[in-house]
């Protein structure tokens, strides 16, 4: 029973230390751009009222969710097709290498040209950046399906949709989740960037707005909120992953015990 407590202490030690250092280092600061942490924290509840959470944070989150979901569906679907057929892979691979080498923020001005400056543009930007890690990891996962497993399924007449659902996607799920995890952090970055370019609400927009109005403590609170949001999303992601990939972690643990 001591071990969870110990883990909690270990996990919290560094954040507490960093905050403490920040607190004392900034305590007497008179620099407008680097206000004391105390000021930032007292500003926080004034800035992020329920009204503002609804008007700015919620739209951001919805855009992130829409873009991320679109990227996940598209990435897994295309990745499965590309991973399953050698010919398709040969045709697509050079293009994929090129497309994933393009830094996604560069696409913002381009996507603005045909998607306007509304929500569609932001969702498209997020999706276009998130799709690559999902797609490429899915391709690898689908390619790596064990041939013995594959033949067993075929021998028992498990083909077509059932094979896809019970064999291919499940077998590729550890890699797919690796892609989804990478995509999540890319998604948060693109969410903020797309809102900094052209928006009338959202987290990125609000932070830039504060900076332009010299509401520096407010700007800092926005950055803190973004950090917290990213942390929360990754906790949620881990919970989902632990549920879906429970078998995989168990399998790995058991093969480590008996090599």
């Amino acid at each position: 029973m001591k071990r969870p407590a110990l883990r909690l202490v270990l996990a919290l030690a560094l954040p507490v230390l960093l905050v403490t250092v920040w607190w004392f280092a900034s305590a007497g600061s008179t620099d407008v751009y680097r206000p004391p942490l105390r000021t930032i924290l007292t500003t926080f509840p004034d800035v992020w009222t329920g009204e503002r959470l609804r008007a700015d944070v919620l739209p951001s989150l919805l855009r992130l969710l829409a873009g991320y979901a679109a990227a996940a569906v598209l990435g897994v679907a295309l990745g499965t097709v590309i991973g399953s057929y050698r010919r398709v892979r040969a045709v697509c691979e050079p293009v994929l290498e090129f497309l994933r080498a393009v830094p996604p923020p560069v696409l913002v001005p381009v996507i603005m040209l045909f998607a306007g400056i509304g929500d569609t543009m932001k969702v498209a930007v997020i999706a276009s950046g998130c799709v690559w890690p999902v797609l490429l990891n899915t391709v690898e996962g689908v390619r790596a399906v064990d041939p013995v497993l594959s033949e067993t399924a075929r021998g028992y007449g498990i083909t077509g949709a059932a094979r896809l659902r019970h064999v291919v996607l499940r077998s590729a799920s550890p890699q797919i989740f690796t892609g989804l995890r990478q995509a999540l952090s890319i998604g948060i970055i693109l969410m903020v960037i797309s809102e900094m370019f052209a928006a009338s609400n959202g987290l990125g927009f609000t932070i830039v707005q504060f900076q332009r109005q010299f509401a520096i403590p407010g700007m800092w609170t926005g950055i803190l909120l973004l950090g917290l949001l990213g942390f929360l999303l990754s906790v949620v992601f881990q919970l989902v992953e632990r549920r879906v990939l429970g078998w995989y972690h168990g399998l790995r643990a058991s093969s480590r015990r008996s090599p």
Partner: protein, 271 residues
């Protein structure tokens, strides 16, 4: 039940061709337990995959109940050597056994019945809720056997199923297979490289030559059908049969030295 006629399989690879199976002809009668034994690397697995419809033969044909095998036929189940890679690690034991039945759109009640019955037959009733990787190797292979049983196959193919388990587990599993064969009247084609195992289990033993494979000899195993590890293996008749098979396998290995040269020739030998 199972007719293999003039089976030939040549693998065509980058710049080289390997003739794995040259000319195999044999039959397995309904309800028979036939063991195939041969030196390592003699194309046993290739043969089994062709029979299972997982590989297309280069020439010859395979008939199951009079009908030619072109893909994995219904009514045939395969148990592979690599139990760790043939069970779905993301499914519990019960689900692993049930999946092929679900695919046949069998009603749920019937599926449950078959799964429970199959797991009981292999002595794993309590393991239905476990994941395969939580079980020992021998138990995992039992799950694979249970899955094959629940499928209610006419023909059960086993590809060196006990090569990767320890000796004691192996003896248990041999008795299990023989017991199930007698109780259920399934036709079993059992591939192994273990001569003792082939003689102990089989009603008939086919000795294969080294690759490119042909049938070298067929031996009828006239041991009593009631067999057990303790007595059967020390019976004088067991020793005689074992010696005969052993001599044949040794001869097959020696014979391999000569034709090995034409394995990679660019032109196929005329057959």
């Amino acid at each position: 039940m199972l007719d293999v006629r003039g089976l030939r399989k040549v693998y065509e690879g980058a710049g080289r061709r390997v003739e794995a199976v040259r000319d195999l002809t044999f039959t397995v009668g309904a309800g028979e337990l036939v063991c195939l034994v041969g030196p390592s690397g003699c194309g046993k697995t290739t043969l089994l995959k062709c029979v299972a419809g997982l590989l297309a033969p280069t020439a010859g044909e395979i008939l199951l109940g009079g009908r030619p095998v072109t893909g994995p036929p219904p009514g045939m189940a395969v148990v592979f050597q690599e139990y760790g890679r043939s069970l779905f690690p993301w499914m519990r034991v019960g689900e692993n056994v049930e999946l092929p039945l679900k695919q046949q759109r069998m009603p749920k009640a019937r599926r449950r019945e078959l799964v429970a019955d199959a797991l009981r037959s292999v002595g794993l009733t309590d393991a239905a809720g476990a994941y395969p990787w939580q079980l020992s190797g021998g138990m995992q292979q039992r799950v694979a056997i249970a899955r094959a049983l629940a499928y209610e196959p006419d023909v059960l193919l086993m590809d060196e199923p006990f090569a990767a388990v320890d000796a004691q587990t192996r003896a248990d599993l041999e008795d299990l297979v023989r017991g199930l064969w007698r109780a259920r009247g399934i036709t079993v084609l059992f591939v192994t490289h273990d001569i003792d195992e082939a003689v102990y289990l089989g009603e008939r033993v086919l000795v294969l030559s080294a690759s490119p494979t042909v049938v070298r000899e067929q031996l009828s195993i006239d041991l009593p059908s009631e067999r057990d590890q303790l007595h059967t293996r020390v019976a004088p008749r067991f020793a005689e049969l074992r010696t005969q098979v052993y001599a044949q396998v040794q001869a097959a290995k020696r014979g391999a030295a000569v034709p090995a040269a034409d394995v990679r020739t660019p032109t196929p030998p005329a057959t």
